[in-house]
């Protein structure tokens, strides 16, 4: 997978870098002043791969870093790699059509991170998919909740009804007791003045009893109905209730997990701030306990989640009329707790395993040290100087820890001697063939043990490195920086080849030219060119010697949004916008290509038209004297068509606007295609801005009608059925001589544009209109 573009958010001085494309030829240079953010770009990309960032990369507003990288990919590889689940609708199609894959690493507050499959349209597809899933879950939950609500209402009504029945029963009883009393009272008052009211009271009591009895009877009937209904609903809602309980358990587990994670994180933060080992040990024990708890809670959480999903799906099916046995069977088969679709993170993690390895080649870790403890290498202690270089050395040598366990010190020395010889031969070959040097340098390493003068390490093994030149044996740091750098770089390349040659590598190199002399810096470029087919290189530099003047499109320029304000954010300019960068930022280019020609009169800031050759210049400049155009045009001829790209790079470097005019001949088409690909990266708006191809005209002479060509240029009456340029080529005329003669003839005879025939006039006007349409 080829690394093609990146975007960085919230990483040191970079707020949002926007998308930046790498040079299509695999070598991308980053130029800019000190503190402009060059190294931040390399670090951000390195962190994208390693996942490791320190808190000091955070910006003042503490916004979370996010780094996205896109890679060229064949969609067939996606099908091959993501074959266990499905991708949401639209994701695969998008990757297929764009032929690229974007991965984003997003950090969290604790500097932990995750990788996601990303890209604008890809993210939309994932969002849609997730929304659909959430809606589905909600639908299920709603149905279950509705069922439970109905049951709860029925139970509530039942309880009310029972209560009412009780009240009515008591009332009946009470009336039953009141009637004998009323009868007795009525008998006692017989014949008296109060007899009548007593009889009325008895009658009314009897009536109330009857009413209460009737109400009770009705209530009993109602209660029976409600009982039956509640019973039925309770039966139906058993699974819904079970689902509700599972949901509550899951929510509790979730809360518990959050709490456990928070506790763990808080203690981890405290642990990180403790300096003393004794104090650390105490906290470490507590940390372990919390970690165990977290793992346990996590397991419970997973179980609760699965249970919740299964029970919800089962309840939903049964409520929908499926028998419980059938529903259980269906749920077993469907496995709703297992998502059949890849999440962004799952897909991202799988694909991340196949992107090229990003290696940050920086001085502290990557330059070969004088010595390094074997334990540090084997334990992977990245904080020691030269760790990476020494590791590379062991990898290249094929050495494993077992090598150093050799019982016989004589055999071990023999082995080391042979390895030293092999590695030296390889390096000399590389040194001579790739950068043309003939220095006789050999590299040696030896296994030594600390003496008693190092009480804390006494007896511990360490590796010692030597670089030998003729009879001189010196530590790497005693050698020139160039030799040490190249040697270390060589080890890096060799180690990459040994690791996984198919995986590919993106080499991030911070200031490779630092303190190397000019020639050595140019050698660095040669090495980049040599390896670019297999290894992509991104390097930062201040040095003009690390810029190829013919390939300015390889550069990204970095500067602060507000110049001289180190607190302002970093802006990145690519080949398309390089001319917008400040003069100070572009100073390596100016240094490389000499004076700033934008300040002289021959070439202007705008409206420069780069021409294929001097003949084109003669013809166009002559015709331009005959007509009046609305815009100024400054013609700039290349000495030869093959030099057009050099001119393009020079003008790009000088920050001058230009248009390239090419003919429809094969060479012109090739230049057109190269610039379209390298400078415009296929962007049609840039193609229109920078390029005009006279595709229907092979050469400038073809803009003249055959008659005018014969009349004003060739001065012969001969049949020319082919194009004028073909005629010149076949008959071996000197184009430059004819063009020069034409220029003189126009001047001598005071020819006018109207002297040409309609065809010639139409053709030239077409061309000038095209030029005017893109010029300022």
């Amino acid at each position: 997978m080829k690394f093609i573009s990146f975007r960085i958010h919230n990483f040191r001085s970079i707020k949002d870098s926007g998308w930046n494309e790498l040079s299509p030829d695999n070598i991308t240079g980053i130029i800019g002043q000190n503190e402009s953010g060059k190294t931040s770009i390399l670090e951000a990309l390195s962190s994208f791969y390693s996942g490791t960032v320190s808190e000091d990369v955070l910006r003042g507003d503490m916004s979370i870093p996010v780094v996205s990288c896109c890679f060229e990919i064949d969609h067939r590889l996606i099908s091959k790699l993501l074959n266990e689940k499905e991708l949401p609708v639209g994701v695969f199609k998008q990757i297929k059509s764009s032929k690229s894959l974007c991965l984003t690493r997003i950090w969290d507050e604790d500097m932990g991170s995750r990788i996601e499959l990303s890209g604008p349209k890809v993210s939309n597809s994932f969002d849609k998919h997730n929304t659909a899933r959430t809606e589905h879950d909600l639908k299920l939950q709603k149905r279950i909740d509705k069922c439970l609500e109905k049951k709860d209402n029925a139970v509530s009504l039942l309880l009310n009804s029972e209560e009412q029945k009780k009240v009515l029963s008591l009332e009946v009883e009470r009336y039953k007791l009141l009637i004998p009393e009323a009868q007795k009272e009525s008998k006692m008052l017989k014949g008296t003045r109060e007899e009548k009211p007593a009889i009325t009271k008895l009658r009314k009591t009897k009536e109330k009893l009857e009413q209460a009895s009737a109400d009770l009877s009705k209530a009993k009937t109602e209660l029976e109905g409600l009982k039956k209904e509640a019973e039925a609903l309770t039966q139906n809602s058993k699974l819904a209730e079970s689902s509700r309980q599972a949901r509550i358990r899951f929510e509790n587990a979730h809360a518990e997990l959050d709490s456990a994670y928070q506790d763990l994180r808080d203690l981890q933060r405290i642990f990180n701030t403790i300096s003393y080992e004794i104090d650390r040990r105490g906290v470490k024990s507590e940390l372990d306990k919390l970690n165990d708890k977290y793992v346990k809670v996590l397991q419970e959480y997973d179980q609760a989640r699965e249970d919740d999903i299964l029970k919800r799906n089962l309840a939903y099916k049964v409520l929908g009329g499926v028998s419980q046995a059938a529903a259980e069977r269906e749920v077993r088969n469907e496995k709703p707790h297992i998502d059949p679709f890849y999440s962004r993170e799952e897909a991202g993690n799988i694909l991340f395993g196949y992107i090229p390895e990003f290696v940050f080649f920086e001085d502290f870790s990557s330059l070969l040290p004088n010595k390094i403890d074997l334990e540090d290498i084997l334990s992977g202690n990245k904080d020691v100087e030269g760790f990476r270089a020494a590791g590379n050395f062991l990898k290249v040598s094929g050495l494993t820890p077992r090598f150093f366990v050799e019982g016989s010190s004589r055999l071990l020395k023999q082995k080391i001697e042979k390895l030293n010889k092999d590695i030296t031969i390889d390096f000399q070959d590389f040194w001579r063939q790739k950068i043309g040097k003939r220095n006789k340098i050999t590299i040696n390493f030896e296994l030594e043990h600390y003496s008693q003068s190092h009480p804390d390490k006494s007896g511990f093994p360490y590796l010692e490195f030597w670089i030998r030149d003729k009879q001189e044996r010196l530590y790497p740091k005693q050698r020139s920086r160039g030799v040490r750098w190249f040697l270390s770089f060589y080890l890096e390349l060799k180690a990459a080849a040994v690791s996984d040659p198919d995986k590919g590598m993106v080499l991030l190199i911070d200031e490779p030219g630092l303190s190397l002399h000019a020639r050595a810096q140019e050698d660095v470029l040669k090495v980049f060119d040599y390896i670019k087919d297999k290894i992509q290189v991104l390097y930062s530099t201040h040095s003009p010697h690390l810029i190829d003047s013919k390939k300015i499109y390889r550069l990204l320029a970095v500067q602060r949004a507000i110049e001289d304000d180190d607190s302002s954010e970093t802006k990145i300019f690519n080949a398309k916008s390089l001319t917008e960068a400040s003069a100070d930022t572009l100073s390596p280019i100016y240094t490389l290509i000499g004076a700033r020609l934008s300040e002289q009169q021959y070439i202007r800031q705008k409206n420069n038209v780069i021409l294929e050759d001097i003949s084109t210049y003669y013809y166009l400049s002559t015709i331009l004297t005959m007509i009046e155009l609305k815009k100024e045009i400054y013609l700039l001829p290349a000495s030869n068509i093959s030099n057009v790209e050099t001119l393009v790079n020079l003008l790009l470097g000088w920050g001058l606007d230009f248009v390239v005019l090419t003919g429809g001949n094969p060479e012109g088409m090739e230049i057109f295609s190269d610039i379209k690909q390298n400078l415009c990266r296929g962007d049609q708006s840039l193609v229109r801005k920078y390029l005009i191809n006279m595709d229907q005209f092979q050469g400038i002479e073809d803009l003249f009608s055959t008659l005018d060509f014969k009349k004003f240029i060739l001065h012969q009456r001969v049949g020319i059925p082919e194009t004028n340029s073909e005629f010149l080529k076949e008959n071996r005329y000197s184009r430059a001589v004819l063009a020069s003669n034409f220029m003189n003839e126009v001047q001598d005879n005071n020819l006018k544009f109207g002297d040409f025939d309609e065809e010639t006039r139409d053709n030239f006007m077409w061309l000038f209109q095209k030029l005017e349409s893109v010029l300022y």
Binding site: S705, L707, K710, R717, G719, I720
Partner: protein, 273 residues
């Protein structure tokens, strides 16, 4: 006696040889005429792209130096009436060259104005015949009337090399003079042919013709027919159906020619818009 017999025998043999050669040559030319006829646009093609039209085509010999040519591209139809230098076999050879070149020029299927076609055709002829304008050089070539007609828009463009376009509109006859230079080298330096854009109207009638008819000797005084009477002839009968116009022209030609020999190939093409 013997000498006389020998002479007679020799004479007879020579005559037989001459007859044989003549027969072979005629057979050869007859066959060539089939090829030439095959190179002319088929009647169906002419009907399809031109609609109501007629062609009066009377080669003087078995093969002809005159030819007509048609080419269709999108909404445009190119139509040419061509008169090659000479007649008979030399004219026929030149006509084949002309047909090939015209087809070649339009082979890219992009619209080219008629005058630019003539410019290109002249370049091809000059190159093929190695003409450079020097003294005593062959001046072979062709005269041509070429139109490009768009039946959707009624646009017509004409260019002519020693050839005129005639059209009749609203009861009057109009003449568009082409350039007075041939396709091929001539005494003066080559200039661009002129393009004449015209907007035609429904029922306009266009006539393109070679000079064979007007140069035909005949009549009571054995004179050329000439352009004036020919224009009058066309105008007089232009309201007749196209097929009948052809018959009238043929009758007029035969009447005029009478017992005189046909001096050149005859080609007249009429097209009703």
């Amino acid at each position: 006696m013997k000498k006389e017999d020998d002479f007679k025998l020799s004479f007879r043999l020579q005559k037989e040889e001459f007859e044989r050669q003549k027969k072979e040559m005629l057979e050869s030319i007859e066959y060539a005429s089939l090829i030439q006829a095959a190179l002319l646009p088929p009647t169906q093609q002419m009907n399809r792209f031109l609609g109501d039209h007629f062609i009066l085509y009377l080669p003087r010999d078995i093969v002809s130096g005159d030819f007509y040519w048609i080419f269709h591209m999108d909404d445009w139809v190119y139509l040419a009436v061509v008169d090659c230098t000479g007649h008979g076999v030399p004219g026929a050879l030149m006509s084949i060259l002309g047909i090939s070149f015209l087809n070649e020029i339009l082979s890219k299927k992009i619209f080219i104005k008629p005058n630019r076609i003539l410019n290109l055709l002249r370049e091809k002829v000059m190159k093929a015949l190695h003409q450079t304008g020097i003294h005593n050089e062959s001046k072979d070539g062709m005269d041509i009337g070429l139109i490009a007609y768009n039946s959707s828009t009624f646009d017509l463009q004409y260019a002519g090399a020693n050839n005129f376009l005639h059209f009749i509109r609203d009861k009057s006859i109009h003449q568009v003079k082409g350039d007075r230079m041939p396709i091929g080298v001539s005494g003066i330096e080559e200039n661009s042919f002129t393009n004449y854009p015209l907007r035609m109207k429904k029922n306009d009638i266009i006539y393109l013709f070679s000079d064979g008819f007007v140069d035909q000797f005949g009549g009571s005084k054995g004179k050329k027919f000439k352009y004036g009477p020919f224009e009058e002839l066309l105008f007089k009968h232009h309201t007749m159906p196209m097929g009948m116009q052809k018959d009238v022209l043929l009758d007029a030609f035969l009447d005029w020619k009478g017992d005189y020999d046909q001096v050149d190939d005859i080609l007249v093409l009429g097209l009703k818009i």
